[in-house]
Amino acid sequence: MEKVVDPRIYVRTCAALLVLLGLTWAIAYVDLGPFNLIVALAIAITKALIIALFFMHIKGSSRLLHLAAVAGLMWLLILVSLTLGDYFTRGWVPLNH
């Protein structure tokens, strides 16, 4: 049988996610300049990691599953970095926003 997780861990996971939702909502009304986007993305990535680790059981699952999960992100990184690299170096996108 698979390891059954303590229900309190799920409740805490959900509580942490709701706190982070409140945080990202509140920070959106504070002017941090370009850091608004960075903070919003950092919080979103943290929330995604929490969901993957605890709700989707990445924590405690096999290496093979870790590899499959990370592979998707690696391909996304290739898509984003090569495309943005192209746009930015051609001067099609202004970088001062």
């Binding site: 049988m1 698979e2 059954v4 997780v5 229900p7 799920y10 409740v11 996971t13 959900c14 996610l17 709701l18 939702l21 990202t24 909502w25 959106a28 009304y29 504070v30 002017d31 941090l32 608004n36 986007l37 919003a40 993305l41 919080i43 979103a44 929330k47 995604a48 969901i51 993957a52 605890f54 709700f55 989707m56 699952s61 096999s62 093979l64 599953l65 499959a68 999960a69 592979a71 998707g72 992100l73 391909w75 996304l76 898509l79 984003v80 495309t83 943005l84 746009y87 099609w92 996108v93 202004p94 970088l95 926003h97």
Partner: protein, 220 residues
């Protein structure tokens, strides 16, 4: 008659190509994670176009983003996060072979999915009434109307694709609840629940990125 009274043996639940139920479960989960990786790229293309236009027309995007309803969008984020909690409990109930709890939790998750879709429909209706839907009906009094319209194209494409995923998820949950009520997932044979759960959590993750990027960019 021991054959009729004994519970289904593990070997009856394992397909021919697998050594045991453990290996069968691992294979199912691996397949699902590979599918989710392809979904990451599916949504990734849309997130990438959002990123490029966001950098190009930053000021327009901030103005247009302000027209979206943050309270409805934020409430919907909370609804999905709580639905994920119920889904995690559903998988746990399946692991512990608690049939009644499993059915209730699956229905509860589907219900929260319906709440999400209802709020989304209220929002879409509001956008329609306010002439924010791209096309001949679109009206924009601020600067740069064509790029404002572009923001709403991206908004409807991304939230629309996400809404389709939620709708599919609700259907999957209802079918799983029906099968669970017939005792299909007893005796450790709960792959379908676990995989359905992975899908539901993934849809939640997508919204976790959509909410700040679409609704919150314009408020500072």
């Amino acid at each position: 008659m021991p054959i009729l009274t004994s519970p289904p043996s593990e070997s009856a639940l394992v397909a021919e190509q697998f050594d045991d139920i453990e290996q069968q479960r691992d294979a199912a989960k691996l397949g699902m994670w590979i599918f989710l990786a392809s979904e990451v790229l599916f949504f990734g293309g849309l997130f990438l176009s959002y990123t490029i236009y966001r950098f190009t027309y930053g000021h327009v995007f901030m103005e247009t983003s302000r027209r979206l309803d943050v309270v409805l969008g934020g409430t919907n984020t909370a609804v999905l996060l709580v639905s994920s909690l119920l889904m995690a409990f559903a998988v746990r109930a399946a692991q512990l072979d608690q049939r009644r709890a499993l059915v209730r939790l699956l229905l509860g998750t589907a219900l929260l999915g319906c709440v999400f879709m209802s709020i989304k429909m209220v929002e879409y209706h509001k956008d329609y009434v306010e002439h924010l839907v791209p096309g001949t009906h679109f009206e924009w009094t601020g600067a740069d109307p064509s790029n404002a319209e572009l923001f709403f194209w991206i908004y409807f494409a991304m939230t629309g694709l996400h809404a389709i995923h939620v709708t599919v998820g609700i259907g999957v949950l209802l079918v799983l609840a029906l099968l669970a009520s017939r005792g299909k997932f007893s005796g450790g044979n709960y792959n379908a629940i676990e995989i359905g759960g992975l899908y539901w959590h993934f849809v939640d993750v997508v919204w976790v990125f959509l909410f700040p990027l679409l609704y919150l960019v314009g408020h500072r």
